[in-house]
Symmetry: C2
Subunit: 355 residues, 2 copies
């Protein structure tokens, strides 16, 4: 009997399709080597599709729902008004599929240069877990007296015990399998109502995980600690907006968006989880072979781990690290290999079982 997984693929715009193609080639190799199969459905979505059809998440929700996982390329195009795809697709998917935890590993890969002085891979090995469905991302606000000198805009951040608890519990479990250290990142001295709820939940859930040491860092201080003392962190849990900001800082530290990945995890099995590279659609380099597919391939590794194919996940990650380490430089003309060459090399290493 062979295990088969239903995978929805959303290549999206710009460099999305080409980096996803690399990830799928690596997935082929992993299937051959590790003896599972996938049933893949590729769905049109993103800026180009929206411009042609006006369709957003609604149009694909039903087709996505039955899958075991979603592999996502990237979305975006300057012709689409900012906010439309973000709110109409990405946030909509996170909400409707209850992708409660946005999980972003931050680690240095040998050979991938970090812009931070004196940082070495041993000192930087953490996972940032971002609450992914609420907080300021509920997108609710109201404006009175718009267009007048007396305009007032109120923007809400809604935080529920249930929403916080599930992501905090997930983070504790993650820490338990790692270095057993959990750091809450918030701004509790200013955002008192939300901050107190986060702190209470961390304290209460923490009682179930006495082996895990709990720490707290303000989001502004995080700008210091992340680049300068990353060894302090194992698992960092934070709210939606702070997570959006500090994970980008994490990506900078690890050498840029090229290698940063994220998993949008549904934690209760009610809908599929989604895996994506963090980079954007970079329409300016689409089709030139300059895009680095490492982020997309590493997001495939996260997906395989999530599906329970741990061995395949580790092989894909190791192969990517090896290929990255052999490249002279990472971005642009200096990468030393094209997008598809990099994909082919990783696939080859995985297929031949050389990692």
């Amino acid at each position: 009997m062979t295990t088969s997984y239903a995978i929805a693929v959303l290549p999206g715009d710009g460099i999305g399709p080409e980096v996803v193609a690399c990830a799928l080639e690596v997935l082929d190799a992993a299937e051959q080597r590790y003896g599972f199969t996938t049933e893949r459905s590729t769905l049109a979505a993103g800026a180009n599709h929206y411009l042609e059809t006006g369709e957003l998440f609604d149009a694909v929700e039903a087709q996505l729902r039955g899958n075991d996982a979603i592999l996502f390329g990237s979305m975006g195009d300057p012709r689409v008004t900012p906010g439309i795809l973000e709110r109409g697709f990405i946030l909509e998917m996170r909400q409707r599929f209850q992708q409660a935890a946005n999980v972003r590993p931050v680690r240095l890969y040998p050979g991938v240069p970090t812009p931070i002085a004196d940082l070495s891979p041993e000192r930087c090995e953490m996972v940032i877990v971002r609450e992914n469905t609420e907080g300021a991302y509920v997108g609710r606000g109201s404006t009175v007296h718009a267009g007048t000198p007396h305009a007032v805009a109120m923007q809400e951040s809604l935080n529920t015990r249930a929403g916080i608890e599930r992501v905090v519990d997930f983070s504790f479990r993650l820490a338990l399998g790692r270095r057993k250290r959990l750091t809450l990142c918030h701004k509790t001295n200013i955002l008192v109502a939300a901050g107190q709820l986060w702190q209470q939940v961390v304290a209460e859930v923490g009682e179930r995980y006495p082996e895990v040491e709990v720490d707290y860092v303000h989001v502004d201080a995080m700008c210091f600690h992340l680049p300068l003392t990353p060894e302090r962190f194992d698992v960092v849990v934070t709210d939606n907006l702070f997570g959006d900001i500090i994970t980008d800082l994490g990506a900078v530290i690890q050498g840029g968006l090229g290698v940063a990945t994220s998993a949008n995890l549904n934690l209760d099995g009610s809908a599929p989880s989604m895996f994506e590279a963090i980079h954007g659609s970079a329409p300016d380099i689409a089709g030139t072979g300059l895009a680095n597919p490492a982020g997309a391939i590493l997001s495939l590794a996260l997906m395989l781990g999530h599906l329970g194919e741990g061995e395949a996940a580790r092989a894909v990650e190791a192969a990517t690290v090896e290929v990255l380490g052999a490249l002279p430089a990472l971005a642009g003309a200096g990468m030393g290999a094209t997008t598809s060459e990099i994909g082919a090399r990783v696939a080859e290493l995985v297929r031949d079982g050389r990692t």
Copy 2:
């Protein structure tokens, strides 16, 4: 006739008094050299004072109000519950004295090592202007069903046209005297109500400053651009919470809290402005001579500029840069000179007119 300024001095806790003492020695030198005088009143405030008396901002408001400027050391002590001094003193002062703009220059000083690879002083010369009185810092929120599984915490961000306009107008004027480039930093694709108001105000006020080029960057993307392409920025204007975060990133880039300063400016003359180093009270190194007084001395320079003593301001800054550049390293035991030695050297350069 000699000009005299009334200065309130709030040394505060930990290393506050010793770095402020250095700044005052430099101020003495600047007065001698540039022929103005100050009338100084030193007021007790901060964690120790609060622990002894229970007094916060209320207790000094009247004494502070009549002054031309406030020189602030630092506040904080682990024995005081987080939030009490922040909200009861610092935010209270910003609000009641309508210190509308929190201005933080981000520049590299020769000899002060930045942790960012390949960054040079020519590439990094910006000012971040943070709205300082509203947004999420209004500190309003509410919680229902606290302590139950159904708890919900709502946290508000209040943004007024008037509050945004004054800081945006200030930022345009600042840009006009510099490289004529203003960047709005926000998260308009998610925080729609607040984001639209910010964008409208920037667009409208910008019509009065057609020479200034306007740009926009999302706060998450700022984590990339600030360290990697700082040459892109001249004046950055942003909201209170985002400003809190990105200015700390700015401080990292410029080599740490030791040299970072900020001005809390009242823009309508209704109350005094406040000048402070960004570092905390660092009680662990208080009294050891290990604290770097550069931040406090540079905040004195900002204060002198604000008072209209431009020549003195430039001299103090230049002297500080010169002394910093001659130190072997910046922090801790490797600084090569004690707190008071550094202060004395800067004062000497200023007094002798050697910068």
